[in-house]
């Protein structure tokens, strides 16, 4: 007797929905075992990780505040992923967006101008796109692997940020901390309620989700992008150039990440510091996968992932567990999701050996 893997005649629709749920459940189970092995009461820890953050208004505000950039960036990345364009450098595009937007906010001649925020928005988006345009150009023209280039660009962006906040942009009144001065009030996205940090940038994310849905599910161009990802040869026969997919995919990701960077600098942080991103650019890759590269799936994926960030911070404060737990859970979640996806397309049969 042995197991045999069989391809399903059609992908299993129930498994398609069950896979993310199953993956989340398995992640929680592994998490509890992990907490128990560290000597913490697993139920109490899980409560602190997943429930407590959502049990107060402040927690809910923080939840949406963190989900927003994740969903925004993942929407942009998914446009590329659908066409097999692997932008892994959203973290760098996010950083450049934050730098450009903060630069405008800090140095625009009229710091009270109502144009300041729109200008910062354009600067952030433009910088993110420009940073993504380099790998796009190299891939489209020189056939250079975009995974490696976008990653290298991320390291360069981080070093550039470090140079600015340690050097020319450092706040002279900042007690030698490597950070810029606070942005002027007109450069800040105001929160809805002074008690909480959630601000209007959430609307940008909502618009991005709808735009992505329209593009991928309702537009001919989006359809061609998906075809070129699933069947590059067919797309070429149909007259759709691969380089178009490369440009659109990378620029969409760069724009989204740049805007997210702007919203982070002008929102909860209000200045530039070396820790501008808690890893949103990398986590958004996982969000895109959990969301199956689909706009509404990404919303759910972003909410789940931001809960992991929030819970990670929570147990860090209440139980003294390290923040690295967040990344471990992110990795485990993606492992389980990828493994669970297998059962959408395949089933395992127990086969009796003939005597």
């Amino acid at each position: 007797m042995h197991f045999r893997i069989e391809q399903r005649p059609e992908p299993s629709a129930p498994m398609r929905i069950a896979a993310p749920v199953l993956a989340t459940a398995l992640t929680v189970i592994v998490g509890s075992i992990f907490f128990a092995s560290l000597g913490h009461d697993p139920l109490a820890t899980l409560y602190a990780f997943f429930v407590e953050p959502l049990s107060s208004m402040n927690g809910l505000s923080e939840w949406l505040l963190k989900a927003s950039p994740l969903i925004l960036i993942a929407c942009g990345l998914a446009v590329g992923f659908r066409a097999n364009v692997w932008n892994i450098g959203a973290e760098g595009q996010f950083t450049m967006g934050a730098i450009a937007a903060s630069g405008v906010g800090l140095f625009w001649p009229n710091p009270e101008s109502v144009l300041l925020l729109p200008l910062m928005f354009v600067a952030g988006m433009g910088a993110g796109m420009a940073w993504a345009a380099i790998p796009a150009f190299l891939r489209a023209r020189m056939n250079t692997n975009e995974i490696l280039v976008t990653l290298m660009m991320t390291y360069i962006a981080t070093l550039f940020l470090s140079y600015l906040v340690h050097g020319p942009w450092r706040d002279p009144a900042g007690f030698n901390y490597p950070q810029t001065a606070m942005l002027p009030t007109a450069a800040l996205l105001q929160s809805f309620d002074p008690a909480y940090r959630l601000n209007s940038s959430i609307f940008i994310t909502v618009i991005a989700v709808i735009a992505m849905w329209l593009f991928t599910d309702r537009s001919f161009l989006g359809y061609k992008m998906s075809v070129s990802g699933a069947a590059p040869l067919a797309a070429r026969y149909a007259g759709f150039r691969e380089s178009a997919a490369v440009w659109i995919g990378l620029l969409a990701g760069g724009a989204a990440a740049g805007i997210a960077g702007m919203a982070e600098a002008a929102g909860p942080l209000g200045q530039l510091s070396p820790q501008i991103s808690p890893g949103y650019g990398f986590a958004a890759i996982i969000v895109a996968f959990i969301g199956r590269l689909n706009a509404f799936g990404i919303v759910l994926g972003g909410l789940l992932m931001s809960l992991l960030f929030l819970g990670g911070e929570g147990v860090q404060m209440t139980l003294g567990l390290p923040s690295a737990l967040t990344r471990i859970f992110q990795g485990i979640l993606l492992f389980f999701l990828l493994a669970a996806d297998f059962f959408i397309f395949y089933r395992i049969r127990l086969v009796r050996e003939k005597a």
Binding site: N143, I156, H166, L338, D341
Partner: protein
């Protein structure tokens, strides 16, 4: 002369982790599998080897522990990519993120004190030769091991039947399966070997190169190793040369800082990443050259038709 010797030996040492990681990935990719998780495997190797030294184990045991940690991490990838037929890009990225999390978690107890680094070995008599002695015969054993691995892997891939089988599987798994080779099993072995080598690379970083623990101490070296494999157009000798090139870049950057060049240190630190991009561009433009040694089935999941 002393400066030249310092730069030369520094280059060889800085290249050593890249040689381990890139040679391991070469074997993996030659079998038709793309594992993007090197950075994660290296970090796990670095963390475990460092932990073993602080826990009082001997140096060889610590390095072995690092290598095994890398192999264990690669097994996670292997199960996903080979058994569950997952998208290999996604599985590799998951491993990279997971490994950085696990290593940071393990590393929280390490403190900031340096450990006693792996000793260099002065090879008797030879190391006393003028010029040649300090240039070639005063390294730590891992440097020589890296070179030995280069010879062994070149010989294995191109001079043994097993190496031929591995390369055939990377070219056409369907054909290899039809002939009767256990494609999945061989790919598992390649992936495990790649993890072992990445673990060694990480161990070298934390117990020899910079014998102290810093979170994410690989600083992209795993990704540079991936770029090296492309740069080398999947050939071992060019991996060795490429690693020395990048090692040299790292050392020039450090020397530049030491000499107090009037350039921001961040710009110097960005050089290896810039160089990686430039080198990739130069190589990738020549599509014929890339295609020549490119494993045709790279990153394509394989399921034996039963």
């Amino acid at each position: 002369m002393d400066l030249f010797i310092a730069i030369f030996t520094g280059t060889v040492i800085a290249a050593t982790p890249l040689i381990f990681a890139a040679l391991g990935e070469l074997v993996v990719e030659k079998s038709g599998v793309l594992n993007l998780g090197i950075e994660g495997m290296m970090l796990m190797g670095a963390a475990l080897a460092f932990w073993a030294v602080t826990a009082g184990y001997s140096m060889p045991v610590a390095i072995m522990a690092g290598a095994l940690a890398g192999a264990a991490a690669s097994l996670l990838f292997g199960v996903l990519a080979l058994t569950f037929l997952t998208n290999q890009y996604a599985a590799g990225l998951a491993l990279a993120i997971f490994g950085s999390g696990v290593s940071a978690f393990l590393g929280r107890g390490f403190g900031s004190d340096p450990i006693e680094a792996l000793h260099r070995v002065d090879i008797p008599l030879l190391s006393d030769l003028p010029v040649v002695g300090p240039l070639l015969f005063r390294f730590d054993p891992m440097v020589y091991l890296a070179l030995l691995m280069f010879v062994a892997i070149s010989w294995f891939l191109y001079r043994t039947k097993a190496g031929l089988v591995l390369r055939t599987i990377g070219e056409s798994p369907q054909t290899s399966h039809a002939i009767g080779y256990p494609v999945i099993r061989i790919r598992y072995m390649a992936v495990l070997f790649g993890g072992l080598m990445a673990g060694l690379a990480g161990a070298y970083l934390s117990v020899a190169y910079t014998p102290l623990w810093v979170e994410n101490m690989t600083a992209g070296k795993g990704w540079i190793a991936l770029a090296l494999v492309v740069f080398a157009t999947w050939r071992p000798l060019r991996i060795l040369l490429g690693a020395w090139l990048f090692g040299g870049m790292t050392i020039l950057q450090l020397q530049g800082q030491a000499l107090g060049l009037e350039v921001p240190s961040e710009l110097l630190s960005a050089l290896p990443y810039l160089a990686t991009i430039i080198v990739l561009v130069l190589i990738s433009r020549n599509r014929q050259m890339l295609a020549l040694h490119f494993p045709a089935s790279l990153a394509k999941p394989f399921r034996p038709a039963s």
